[in-house]
Symmetry: C2
DNA sequence: TTATAATTGTGATGTTTGTCACGTGTGAAT
DNA sequence: ATTCACACGTGACAAACATCACAATTATAA
């Protein structure tokens, strides 16, 4: 488990063993069951999570109670309701397990402490944040340039495994189309 | 001009005068005319820009030659083709002036140097990147939860001034609808 | 000024997508 | 074994949106 986190960080920033021990001391290790909530809308967001294994959905519920999937979170991903996390406000979204999940969590206090005390980690978080931003921009682009069918095919290509792991309803919700339309696209 | 940048940074991170001088030495000051390109697709992306005044569009051109607006950039914004900038690859998007524009630019080398040598600035960039990520996620949410008319009204509410400054065609391209549909929404 | 291009609105029409409804199959729980 | 929730497909219809075409107005440049 520790190795997973270490290898992940070292893809961007090499760390000595002592440095990694220091890093690790800022995290907690947590296990969750299918359907558990890591973040619940309306509540405080204590942590940001690094997913070791499992699968989650970051979900926004609109005024009509309809659920929209902002993101799937899987192995090697960092996820949270970042807006609520960083500004210490109530969650606007929920983060819920689609499968049993193992994760490391870090509180905002520890995130800031770690950033300050180990410069390398601030650099790591910066790089991660930049790639998150770029990934979101690409998703925006897919909405601008592609119709439902094309977005569906892009998703298939990018995450072929996702297909067998999550119900089509959730894929539809991620793609921004109705369940029925997605069903007709597959045929 | 300098004051604009200083005030902007100090909204997040206080700086001494000496520190700000040091920061400033990493930037260049540039002026652009309407229709000028700051970034051109297919070319290298030398800089990230802080917009002092003016208005720009970050545009992606699809395989059919159709243009899609990923973002408008205006006063107090940071903009670039971040993916190409950070990975030193060719631009997939263009950044072009809609109006005459004044900006500070910073090269990747100086961005990294500044981050390393003045810890505060790495923290500043991290905060900026986080808010950029959050803003993009909100835009994704607007595609998931809202139809063209609602997205149009949200845009109006968020940037009322934009309306008089840019042709409707560009607004339509930002919203992901056709020019004609947008025109009919307004009435 | 004059010519030319860009911007905007609007009608007609077709495509895409959403919604409602129904049926079937599957798996989990009692 | 039976019940019940969930997942999935599909038909019928309505709504949203795109595309093509044309006209009028407003910049812009020669």
């Amino acid at each position: 488990m520790k190795e997973k986190l270490k290898e992940h960080i070292e893809k961007l920033i090499p760390l000595t063993d002592d440095e990694f021990s220091f890093v690790l001391s800022h995290f907690s290790f947590e296990k969750f069951k299918k359907n558990d909530f890591l973040i619940q809308k309306g509540k405080n967001v204590k942590n940001c999570y690094f997913i070791v294994s499992g699968l989650l959905k970051l979900v926004y519920e609109d005024k009509n109670g309809k659920q929209h999937i902002v993101s799937f979170a899987m192995e090697d991903w960092w996820e949270s309701d970042f807006s609520a996390y960083f500004t210490k406000t109530k969650a606007k979204m929920s983060l819920q397990c689609i499968e049993d999940t193992i994760a490391f969590s870090i509180s905002l206090k520890n995130y800031q402490k770690l950033s300050t005390e180990l410069h390398k980690m601030e650099r790591f978080f910066l790089k991660k944040s930049n790639s998150g931003h770029i990934a979101s921009q690409n998703r925006i682009l897919s909405f601008l340039t592609s119709n439902a069918k094309e977005r569906y095919e892009q998703l298939l290509k990018q995450y072929p495994l996702l297909f067998q792991r999550v119900p089509k309803t959730l894929l539809a919700s991620y793609l921004g189309v109705s369940r029925e339309t997605l069903s007709r696209l597959s045929s």
